[in-house]
């Protein structure tokens, strides 16, 4: 069963990679990277069960955290054109909806 899961995971990863390369808008690409991070988490989990060492599962959880913070950073870049230096950032009103 885990073998089938890892096959399916690889197919999903290839689909995400195609979207990452072809993706017409930037948002497609951000979503693709975020989704690929989720696939990494799943891959580490499935691999742990496949090699009968599910202790790696908590490491997979850490990957999920990194993925979340990374996506937040990328989206912040989109909105404010900068990541650090909060004093020089334009406010939401200046950007305009």
């Amino acid at each position: 069963m885990f073998v089938i899961a890892i096959f399916a995971l690889f197919i999903a990863m290839i689909l995400v990679l195609i979207r990452l390369y072809a993706g017409p808008t930037l948002y497609d690409r951000v979503l693709a990277v975020n989704s690929f991070g989720t696939h990494t988490v799943l891959f580490i989990g499935v691999l742990g069960f496949l090699t009968e060492r599910p202790e790696f599962l908590d490491i997979a959880l850490l990957y999920a955290l990194i993925n979340f913070v990374g996506t937040i950073a990328i989206l912040k870049y989109f909105r404010y054109r900068g990541i650090g230096d909060i004093h020089q950032m334009p406010t939401d009103q200046e950007i305009g909806e």
Binding site: I6, L20, T40, G70, I74, I83
Partner: protein, 188 residues
């Protein structure tokens, strides 16, 4: 069999990502691709049982590097300029370097070899004597904190110095900028 398939699949995706990075002109897409590249190499490290290396790769490669590259993109152009020089010389240099690296791996012990130098040296003694010698149950902790204690202390000192230096640089910048803001308010 299955392990070969997993390695093959991961390496195919890794090479495809690398080729896509070289073909892409929009630097934002390149940054995203680089993030995926390091996630893929982290997965390869996990299949090699080097979970700690994999985690460092994911944190530094997919996390910090992406953020740093995005911050760089705010300062520079977003489209890569096409190169006018011929790509032949870099290709030859890369091929020679790659061949040298592959040649270097030829006399390395096989993966999981019980007779590799790392296994026949002091490792057996560490495994046998560390519980009575140092009285810490985890062998990795014993090696890092006791047998290689000076090495670890040196590493910690290097990391601490680097962190302190970066903090001093950042705080100096912020103070200068705040002074500039005060002057602006005075004049206005």
């Amino acid at each position: 069999m299955l392990e070969t398939f997993i390695n093959l699949g991961l390496f195919v995706m890794l090479v495809a990502t690398a080729v896509a990075i070289t073909r892409m002109r929009r630097l934002f897409g390149v940054t995203m691709m680089a993030s995926v590249f390091s996630l893929l190499s982290a997965m390869l490290f996990v299949t090699l049982d080097a979970v700690d290396v994999a985690f460092t790769e994911a944190a530094v490669g997919a996390g910090i590097s992406t953020v740093l590259m995005l911050s760089t993109l705010t300062l520079t152009s977003r489209i890569e300029k096409p190169t006018t020089r011929s790509p032949l010389v870099p290709l030859v240099v890369t091929a020679i370097t790659g061949a040298a690296i592959i040649y270097g791996t030829l006399d390395m012990p096989n993966f999981g070899d019980a007779h590799s130098p790392a296994q026949v040296g002091v490792a057996a003694r560490y495994m046998a004597e560390s519980p009575t010698d140092i009285d810490i149950p985890n062998v990795v902790t014993v090696v890092l904190a006791s047998y290689r204690g000076f090495d670890t202390m040196g590493e910690t000192a290097v990391v601490f110095t680097a962190g302190a230096g970066v903090l001093m640089l950042i705080s100096g910048l912020r103070r200068r900028r705040r002074k500039g803001d005060d002057k602006k308010e005075e004049t206005s």
